[in-house]
Symmetry: C2
């Protein structure tokens, strides 16, 4: 192993960086689970259900193939497929085969899925206001968004780089 690689492999966060990491990842987890529990209590939808309904509601024609849907909500396709089966049985979505295209079925928002999403959205957004927006000054909110976007870009570059290496 070259010395530069060895140095790279030794690098790890210092105690202050590790405290920042834990504050970030643990708080995000608590925020997500608190909002998710309330969403389920208010609307009978899980965080995953809501993410799928949100992505479909924003898609042209309220329909997406499974690959772009998985990408939009950042899930593995196998996990998404099982989840969609359960949502289809609850009539929140339907899966429509396409005779002219062998890339597989499209996931379509149903009328009852649209209704469930709309009903869930009002209390959900109120909770986002109360738990998230009200917790932060305008400066903190802007800084949090800036840091989140920097993290997201860095992660995407790394994933693209990894894909390039293995391809």
């Amino acid at each position: 192993m070259p010395a530069s690689e060895r140095a790279q492999r030794r690098r790890s966060p210092d105690p202050a960086q590790l405290r920042a990491w834990r504050a970030y990842i643990e708080t995000a987890q608590v925020v997500r689970s608190t909002i998710g529990s309330q969403l389920l209590a208010d609307s009978g939808l899980s965080n995953g259900d809501y993410a799928v309904l949100l992505a479909l509601s924003e898609a042209p024609g309220h329909r997406l193939r499974s690959t772009p849907l998985a990408r939009a909500i950042h899930w593995e396709r196998s996990r998404l497929s099982h989840h969609l089966g359960r949502m289809e049985r609850r009539e929140l979505i339907s899966r429509e085969g396409s005779a002219t295209d062998n890339r597989g079925a499209e996931i379509v928002l149903t009328p009852s899925g649209t209704t469930a999403f709309r009903r869930a959205t009002v209390p959900h957004l109120r909770l986002v206001q109360e738990l998230f927006v009200d917790a932060l000054s305008a400066e903190q909110l802007a800084a949090l968004e800036d840091a989140s976007r920097a993290l997201g870009r860095h992660l995407q570059e790394r994933l693209d780089g990894t894909a390039g290496e293995s391809g």
Copy 2:
């Protein structure tokens, strides 16, 4: 419903606040799942396994009762109980009954749990460095920690307030 309550209920994030919210919560989810996938590939431990082992490794005597353990990792007790059963079968932890105390068993880190945790920690921290610390300037890291702590405090105050109202 009084007018003030109606106004309260109407409050929801404006489009810019909603963009900040989605950048925050979606990025945190991607960071968590990316690090979790790599942890599993490197070490055979899930994010949940690692959180339990971390909490026990930091506890006096490497042991905790289930209530403080659940609080430390921010899980519901029922979810934790199922998870601990699986970790016990893998000999990462053990559950020891206490004859002098009817508050139930203590969860104890086993020697093989200690080994698994130590082996996982080096690659895990390297990835935290690469995906998180390297993505951010010192100012961004400090701002992210500050905003995370403000969010965490606000959430805790709200949970304490809710507990007070229902008690």
